[in-house]
C-alpha cells in the first residue's frame, strides 16, 4: 500500500501570477465560463477559464515526488493518486475562482492522448458531474490544449502561426491556421524530446524527471565535448531522437558508469542538450522559411528548458520573427489550456456524449 499519497493533500500549487485581482469581477459579465480538467499523465489539474483566455484559477497537483523514487511515472500509482486528488483539485479551482457548478457553461476534459488509467479518472469524473449537474461536456485532445495555451497569455496572436509541442510524450510541429484548423507538419518518428531527456538521465544514473536535471548539469558542461548525431530527417519536418539516445548510450558504455566523473556527466549532458536543441530550432527555422510563417509558439514541458528558450529567442531576433514563449507554469500540463480549447469547441456546438471514452493514442 502506498500511503505517501495522503500526506500533502493540502499543498496544491497555484499559479498566482495568472490569477489577477480584477478577474473576480469578470464572473458577472463573461460570455463563457469553462471548467477544464486534465489527468492525462501524472498531474491532476483543474482550471476555470472565462471567455477562452482569462484564467480565474489553474490548480495543479503534481505527483512528481511520488514517482521520483521509481525513476519514472508508475501508471497504477498515477491513477490512484488522480482518484484521490480530482475532487479536492476541482473544489480548489472553483473556490479560487469564486464560482460554483451552477455558474459553469461547460466542462472540458482531456480524453487523450495519455496514460489510459489516468485519463479514465478525469473523464469518469467529468462525465459524472456533467450528468448530475446537467452541464454540457466537451472533449479536448491534449495536443490541441497545448496549441491553445498561447491564447492564455497572448489572446491577440494572429493566424497563421507555427506551434511546436515538445514534451515527454510528444514532439510535433503544426501550422495553426485558425481555431480548430491545424496542419501537422511533422512529429517524432520514435522518441519524444522529453523522453530522450528521461532516458539519457537514466543512462547517466541521474534522477527523474530528466529535463530539469540535465538542463542544470549542462550549464557547467562543455557542449562541444561530444559530437552527438543530429537527425535532421531530410525533406521532412519529422523528428527523431532515438539515434541520439543510442549514441549517448554507446558513449556511456565506453566508460563504465561507475567511473563517470562529474565532469564527464556534465559534458555529456551539455552535448546531448545541444543536439536536441539544435534539431528543434533548425526544424522550426526551416518551417519558417519553407512555409513563410513568421509567428512561432512553443509549448510542452521541454519548452521550459533554458537552453531551448535562449536559442529560440536568439533565432527569433536574428530572423525578426514573433516568438511566443509561454510562462514556465503554462509549459507543462495544465487544465487552463484544456479549458481554453474546450471553450472553442463549446462555442462551435461540439458537445461530447456521456459515452465519451478516453484513448491513450489519439492523433490530433
Amino acid at each position: 500500500m502506498h500511503m505517501e499519497g495522503y500526506k500533502d493533500r493540502n499543498t496544491l500549487s497555484v499559479m498566482r501570477n495568472e490569477i489577477k485581482e480584477s478577474n473576480s469581477s469578470l464572473i458577472t459579465h463573461h460570455s463563457e465560463l469553462i471548467l477544464g480538467i486534465d489527468t492525462s499523465c501524472d498531474d491532476t489539474s483543474a482550471a476555470l477559464v472565462a471567455d477562452g483566455n482569462k484564467i480565474l484559477s489553474n490548480i495543479i497537483s503534481s505527483q512528481s515526488d511520488i514517482h521520483k523514487k521509481y525513476g519514472g511515472i508508475v501508471p497504477e500509482l498515477a491513477s490512484r493518486r488522480h482518484i484521490e486528488m480530482v475532487w479536492p483539485v476541482v473544489d480548489e479551482a472553483l473556490n479560487r475562482a469564486g464560482v460554483s457548478f451552477a455558474d459553469i457553461d461547460a466542462i472540458a476534459v482531456c480524453h487523450g492522448p495519455g496514460l489510459i488509467g489516468s485519463l479514465l479518472v478525469g473523464c469518469g469524473f467529468a462525465k459524472a458531474i456533467a450528468y448530475a449537474k446537467k452541464i454540457p461536456l466537451v472533449a479536448v485532445n491534449h495536443l490541441e490544449g497545448h496549441i491553445f495555451s498561447v491564447f492564455l497569455e497572448h489572446s491577440d496572436i494572429e493566424f497563421p502561426f507555427l506551434s511546436l509541442i515538445a514534451s515527454g510524450g510528444h514532439t510535433s510541429l503544426y501550422i495553426v491556421n485558425g481555431l480548430g484548423q491545424y496542419i501537422e507538419l511533422g512529429r517524432t518518428r520514435d522518441d519524444a524530446a522529453g523522453e530522450a531527456y528521461d532516458k539519457v538521465a537514466k543512462l547517466l544514473g541521474l534522477g527523474y524527471p530528466g529535463g530539469p536535471i540535465i538542463d542544470e548539469l549542462a550549464q557547467e558542461g562543455n557542449p562541444k565535448a561530444y559530437e552527438f548525431p543530429r537527425a535532421y530527417v531530410p525533406e521532412s519536418f519529422d523528428f527523431s531522437f532515438s539515434g541520439l539516445k543510442t549514441a549517448v548510450k554507446l558513449e556511456v558504455q565506453k566508460s563504465e558508469l561507475q567511473t563517470l566523473d562529474s565532469k564527464l556527466i556534465k559534458d555529456i549532458a551539455a552535448s546531448f542538450q545541444l543536439a536536441v536543441v539544435d534539431v528543434l530550432v533548425r526544424k522550426v527555422e526551416w518551417a519558417i522559411v519553407k512555409k513563410g510563417i513568421r509567428r512561432v509558439t512553443l509549448s510542452g514541458g521541454v519548452s521550459a528548458n533554458s537552453e531551448l528558450r535562449k536559442r529560440f529567442a536568439e533565432m527569433a531576433k536574428e530572423r525578426e520573427i514573433e516568438l511566443f514563449l509561454p510562462s514556465i507554469s503554462l509549459c507543462t500540463d495544465n487544465a487552463a489550456m484544456i479549458a481554453a480549447a474546450g471553450c472553442h469547441h463549446f462555442k462551435a456546438g461540439d458537445i461530447a456524449g456521456i459515452d465519451l471514452n478516453p484513448k491513450a493514442y489519439l492523433p490530433l
Binding site: G71, I73, V74, E76, G169, D190, A192, K245, A360, Y361
Partner: protein
C-alpha cells in the same frame, strides 16, 4: 530462427513479415520482444504494424503511454514496459488482459514480465553495428519461418 538485417529498412521488413504471418492466424497472440536500448525495437514494430495497415508515422515510442491501442482488425496493441520496474505494476496495468485478448500484441522490454506463457513467440534483437541487427525468433511454425526468412534477408 536467426536473421541478420543490414539496414533499418530490412529490420522493418523482418517486422512486416512476422506481422503478416501472425495476422493470418485467426486468434489473438502476443510477441515478446527483447533488446537493449537502441537495438531497433521501435523500428521492428513499425514494420510489424504496417502488416495491419498502420502507417509508420503512427508508430512511435510507446514508453510514455505504455499501451498504445490501434483499432485495426484484429486490434493491434503496442506495449512498452521500459518504465515498469516491478512485476506487480504489470499486473495492475492489465497487461495480461492484452496478452489473453483476441488482438495481436507486441510487448517491448518483455524481460520486465515475471513469467511468459509456454510456446510464446519471442523475438530478440541484438545490435551488431550502426546498420546491422541480429534478429532471433522463437515459437513460430516451420512453414511460417520459411516465409519470414524471405529471399534476401538472412541466413538460418
Amino acid at each position: 530462427m536467426r536473421i541478420v538485417t543490414g539496414s533499418e529498412e530490412e529490420t522493418k521488413k523482418a517486422g512486416f513479415r512476422l506481422g503478416t504471418v501472425l495476422k493470418r492466424l485467426s486468434r489473438g497472440c502476443t510477441v515478446f520482444l527483447y533488446g537493449e536500448m537502441g537495438a531497433g525495437k521501435t523500428t521492428f514494430i513499425k514494420g510489424f504494424a504496417s502488416a495491419f495497415g498502420i502507417l509508420e508515422k503512427d508508430i512511435g515510442s510507446a514508453s510514455f503511454v505504455i499501451v498504445a491501442e490501434y483499432e485495426t482488425s484484429p486490434p493491434f496493441y503496442h506495449i512498452d514496459l521500459y518504465r515498469i520496474n516491478k512485476a506487480e505494476d504489470v499486473d495492475a496495468l492489465g497487461i495480461w488482459d492484452y496478452i489473453d485478448s483476441d488482438g495481436i500484441a507486441v510487448i517491448e522490454w518483455a524481460e520486465r514480465l515475471s513469467e511468459i506463457p509456454e510456446n510464446a513467440i519471442k523475438v530478440r534483437i541484438n545490435y551488431i553495428d550502426e546498420n546491422s541487427r541480429e534478429i532471433i525468433t522463437e515459437g513460430v511454425d516451420e512453414e511460417d519461418r520459411h516465409y519470414m526468412q524471405g529471399r534476401k534477408v538472412g541466413t538460418c
